[in-house]
Subunit: 215 residues, 2 copies
C-alpha cells in the first residue's frame, strides 16, 4: 500500500523550467484529458525537451496528478477564504460568484481540467476530497454546503437542498468556460468584448439566484 503522499505529491514550483512544464501540462491536459494528452506536445509548449518532463516528473501519471492536485487545492483555499467570511449569505454568494468567474477568466484551463477529470470518473478528485474529510480540514465544497444549510435554518433562504444549489451555482458560473467555442459561434458579440460579457454574466447569475426571471 503506497502512502497518499506518494500518490498526490506535494512540491515547490522551484525552477523556471518546472513552472513552464507545469503551465504547459495544465494547458494540454485541460484540452485533451489525461489519455489524450501527448508528452511531446507538453514539451513543445513548455519550450523544452521531452526527456526533461521525465526528469522533473518521472511519468505522465505523476505529472497529471501533480498538476491536478495543485490546481484544485489552490482553487479550494481561495473559495474557502470567501465563504468563511461573516455577513448575509446572499452577499457572500454574490462575492463568490464574482471571484469564481474572475478566477476562471484568468485561468480557464482549471475548469476544463476539472471537467476532464470528472468525465473520466474523477479518481484523483475523489481521493483528494476523501483525504480532506479524513484529516478533518474540510475542503472547499463542504464549507459552502454548510453555509447553505445554516442560511436556510436562519430563514435567509427559501428551503433548498444544499447540493442542488451548489450544482446550480457551479453550472451557471462554469458552463460558459466549458462551452465557449459553441457559445461564441452562437453569439459573436461575446468574442468582441469578453470582459464586458463576463461582467454581464455575473450580474445575470446574481439576478437569477436572488429573484429568478419571471416578471
Amino acid at each position: 500500500m503506497t502512502p497518499p503522499s506518494d500518490l498526490i505529491p506535494s512540491f515547490d514550483l522551484a525552477s523556471e523550467t518546472e513552472k513552464a512544464i507545469f503551465q504547459a501540462a495544465l494547458e494540454v491536459f485541460s484540452r485533451k484529458g489525461k489519455d489524450g494528452a501527448r508528452m511531446q506536445e507538453i514539451a513543445d509548449q513548455a519550450g523544452i525537451n521531452k526527456a526533461m518532463l521525465h526528469y522533473y516528473f518521472r511519468s505522465k501519471d505523476l505529472l497529471y496528478t501533480s498538476v491536478f492536485a495543485h490546481v484544485m487545492s489552490s482553487f479550494f483555499s481561495k473559495l474557502e477564504s470567501v465563504m468563511a467570511k461573516p455577513g448575509p449569505f446572499l452577499d457572500r454568494l454574490e462575492e463568490m460568484v464574482g471571484v469564481y468567474i474572475d478566477m476562471h477568466a484568468a485561468q480557464p484551463e482549471v475548469a476544463r481540467l476539472w471537467v476532464q477529470e470528472n468525465l473520466n470518473g474523477a479518481p484523483v478528485a475523489r481521493q483528494i476530497l476523501q483525504q480532506g474529510l479524513q484529516t478533518g480540514a474540510g475542503p472547499g465544497p463542504h464549507i459552502l454546503l454548510e453555509r447553505v444549510r445554516k442560511a436556510v435554518d436562519d430563514g435567509e433562504l427559501q428551503p433548498v437542498e444544499p447540493i442542488q444549489l451548489m450544482i446550480s451555482i457551479l453550472g451557471m458560473t462554469v458552463m460558459f468556460f466549458i462551452s465557449q467555442p459553441t457559445m461564441t459561434a452562437l453569439d459573436p458579440a461575446i468574442s468582441a468584448d469578453t470582459a464586458a460579457f463576463l461582467n454581464r454574466r455575473k450580474q445575470h447569475i446574481i439576478q437569477v439566484l436572488r429573484h429568478g426571471i419571471s416578471q
Copy 2:
C-alpha cells in the same frame, strides 16, 4: 475542397453491428475524448473485431464525426419540437428542463461527448451550427434564443440577454451529468436514488429560474 456531405456523413444505422459500434463509440469517446479513445476499447465494448470498425467507418476521425453529428442532430430536433410549441414561455421552459434532464438521464454519454468536443475547441460542432445557419433551417439553439427575445418583448420575462439565460439553463441542467463523480462523493444520498434526485433537481431549477432563492 471536399463537400460537407463527406465531412459530416449521413447514414442509416442499418445493421445490428453498426448500431453496436455506434453505441460503443459514443460511450468511449464521451469518456476519453477523440484523441484519448482507443479503437481497441470501442471494438471490445461493441463485441466485435477491431478490423470491423474500419470496415464500417473507415477511420477513427470519420467514426468520431459520424457519432457526434448524429447525436447532436437528434438532440437538437427533440429540443426544437419542445420550444416550437405555443403557450407561455415559462411553461415551455419548465417542459424543456424536464425533457432535457430526462434525455440526459437516459443517455448521459451525449452531454459528456458534447463537452469533450467543446474542450477541444468544438471544430465539428461549430461546423454543424454554421451549416444549419447557411441552409436556413435554424438549428435548435437559435429557436430558444428567439423565444427568449420574444418573451422579453411581450413582458413575460424581466429583461434578460438571451445567450445569458441559455448558458444558465444549460449549466443548471447539464452540470450534474458532467460532475456526477464529484457530486456523489460530496453527497452519497445522490447514488442511493438517482431518479428521485433528478426529480428534485428539475423542481429546483424551475424554482430558481422562476423566483430565485431569496426569502
